[in-house]
């Protein structure tokens, strides 16, 4: 602010209610003497938070005094209450203290309100007349050469001096009045406003602008600033309100979603439990009657309950076949459900894959009889593999039974071979083959490939889907290569070591 700032702030802190006129100081930018007018800004708790103030340049006063003619060889000096020279003959004298001149007579000037004394300079004697302004404590001094006084008529000079002193005193009073009206008042209003703002938090406060000068500018700037702050503050409050609203809404939503999720989760767990129960119950309830149907039909077919006619045998065979098909379907559905529910743990141990394949060949040999299709197996004598033998058999049987369904003549071949820690079992046929666009659908559930012209083939629609699930369970993979019209080759690829196999 100004070089008087520290002092001003100190004063304000001690007595915040007062408007303070600081001590004079030399302006930083001009040779002039300045005084500061300052008022403390205090918040509602009486906490000091700043100072509003301005500098007043005593330019007019100094130029007036320094240019004043006092007789022929005299001059005027303005000193403050401490004896510091505010205005002298020249800039050098400014802010020197009169005691610095080392003249005993000058002590009288500081000791009395008005009077005169003798001053010596360059072997010349001068009369120094002085008078003190009651308002400021400043003293105006007129210095006149002694010879001039002696030369002129005493009375004339004295009256002249008295008029001058009086008028100078009046001038200082006028300055003070001016200060009051143009400086102290507006600053008081400024501080009042800031006090009000601090007290009420109401930023919609402006100050009535009366003056066009710097104080007026200060006031306008202040008002402008208040407007800006007010605007920002409103925007801030709006944003804050919006943000809080959004936040509340968000929290509400999150809370609701969390609750929904918790509910859904409970419901899902319940559904999962019901599903498991349903599967367990279905596996028993559906199979029991089927087992009876198949069992008694077999008894009848074997003639154990008495002789049966050929027609009865034929029809009973159809009953048995349908019952077997239904049982197969039920078993597949249960298998798929259990695997999908993660309820199936493979039973892993070492076994000879070649033996398993031989068993499959044995089972199917009977079915191939009279069909005109040759079934062959090509496998090394021993392939020890760490896996689930029952599940591997299930997949290979599915492959072979599919091949049998779609092959009218030619051959079906089961092959197995090791390669780089894995074993690949293939079942190839010389059947109908699969169109390229159908291959993708092959491993989906209930997808049945229909060959035009060929009779609809009986199946569950779950065989390959289930085989794929089981293959994944055994850390293996299954796939097919096929040329439509020429035949298909299904394969199962498994790690030799289940525990070392990649998932």
């Amino acid at each position: 602010m100004t070089p008087g700032e520290d002092h001003g702030i100190l004063l304000q802190k001690n007595d915040p209610d007062r408007i303070v006129i600081t001590e004079h100081y030399r302006s930083v930018t001009t040779p002039d003497i300045n005084i500061g007018v300052e008022k403390a800004l205090v918040d509602e708790n009486g906490e000091f938070f700043g100072v509003a103030g301005m500098d007043v340049t005593l330019e007019n006063l100094t130029s007036y005094i320094s240019e004043m003619e006092v007789g022929k060889g005299g001059w005027a000096v303005l000193i403050d209450e401490n004896g510091d020279i505010l205005v002298g003959r020249n800039e050098e004298e400014q802010l020197k203290n009169i005691s610095d001149f080392g003249q005993e007579n000058l002590e009288k000037v500081m000791g009395e309100i008005q009077g005169y004394t003798i001053l010596e300079e360059d072997s010349e004697e001068y009369y120094l007349f002085f008078n003190t302004s009651a308002e400021t404590g400043w003293k105006i001094c007129l210095v006149v050469p002694v010879f001039e006084i002696n030369y002129e008529v005493w009375g004339y000079v004295i009256s002249n001096i008295i008029v001058l002193l009086l008028s100078l005193t009046i001038l200082s009073i006028l300055i003070l009045i001016g200060l009051e009206k143009f400086v102290i008042d507006p600053i008081g209003k400024l501080s009042e406003s800031s006090g009000l703002i601090a007290e009420t938090g109401n930023l919609e406060h402006s100050i009535k602008v009366e003056s066009q000068d710097e104080i007026g500018n200060l006031t306008r700037s202040f008002n402008q600033m208040m407007k800006s702050i007010n605007k920002s503050n409103k925007a801030l409050k709006n944003s804050e309100r919006r943000l809080r609203k959004l936040n509340d809404e968000l929290e509400e939503k999150v809370k609701k979603r969390t609750e929904d999720l918790a509910h859904a989760n409970v419901r899902l767990k319940e559904l999962d439990r019901l599903k498991s129960m349903f599967i367990a119950s279905m596996s028993h309830e559906l199979r029991t009657p089927l087992n009876s149907i198949i069992g008694f039909t077999s008894l009848l077919l074997m003639g154990m309950a008495g002789e049966i006619s050929d027609e009865q045998r034929k029809q009973l065979s159809m009953v048995k076949s349908s019952a077997n098909h239904l049982l197969e379907l039920v078993n597949d559905v249960i298998d798929v459900s259990k695997i999908e529910a993660g309820q199936v743990d493979p039973s892993i141990k070492d076994f000879n894959l070649s033996e398993v394949l031989k068993e499959v060949e044995e089972i199917f040999k009977i079915l191939f009889k009279g069909k005109g299709i040759k079934l062959s197996l090509k496998t090394p004598e021993e392939i020890i593999i760490e896996s689930d033998s029952r599940r591997v058999r299930q997949i290979i049987m599915n492959f072979v039974s599919n091949a049998l369904k779609f092959t009218e003549k030619g051959k079906i071949e089961i092959k197995a071979g090791r390669r780089k820690g894995r074993v690949k079992i293939t079942v190839s046929d010389t059947g109908a083959g699969i169109k390229k666009e159908d291959i993708k659908k092959l491993f989906r559930q209930f997808s049945r490939i229909q060959t035009r012209g060929a009779p609809r083939v009986e199946g569950t629609g779950l065989g390959l889907y289930l085989s794929k699930k089981i293959a994944v369970l055994l850390k293996g993979k299954i796939g097919v290569e096929s040329i439509f019209g020429k035949g298909s080759k299904f394969y199962l690829d498994l790690p030799l070591k289940y525990k070392g196999g990649r998932k």
Partner: protein
């Protein structure tokens, strides 16, 4: 004539096995629950037991265990008659004291040959 105990709660299954075994010259004793099965097994000392697994009171596993605990030196062959089972069940059944294992639906030839194995 060899004496076979059938522990089975389902009437039709019981009728089927009873019919099949009688036709093949076996004497049949029937029990419709696990507890009754255990009691008859210990009282009558049959030559072989066909044991259903899912029974109303104590299941076939527990019944077989109780028979194994209480019987004298002579070990009665106990054959489990189970529904289509997941792999691993066979091993568990043998560990739990069963001698053999027959899967439903019963294949007549397999069923009779499994019984013959232990008599």
């Amino acid at each position: 004539m060899k004496k076979i105990l059938i522990v089975e709660d389902n009437e039709k299954n019981m009728y089927f096995m009873n019919f099949l075994l009688k036709k093949n010259n076996y004497e049949v004793i029937k029990a419709a629950s696990g507890n009754v099965g255990v009691r008859i097994a210990l009282e009558e000392s049959p030559d072989l037991i066909l044991m259903d697994i899912q029974l109303p009171d104590i299941d076939g596993l527990k019944a077989a265990g109780l028979i194994r605990e209480s019987e004298a030196d002579k070990k009665i062959p106990i054959i489990a008659v189970t529904s289509y089972t997941m792999s691993g069940d066979r091993e568990r059944l043998i560990r739990d004291g069963f001698t053999g294992y027959v899967e439903k639906p019963i294949n007549i030839k397999d069923f009779l040959s499994e019984i013959k194995k232990y008599l």
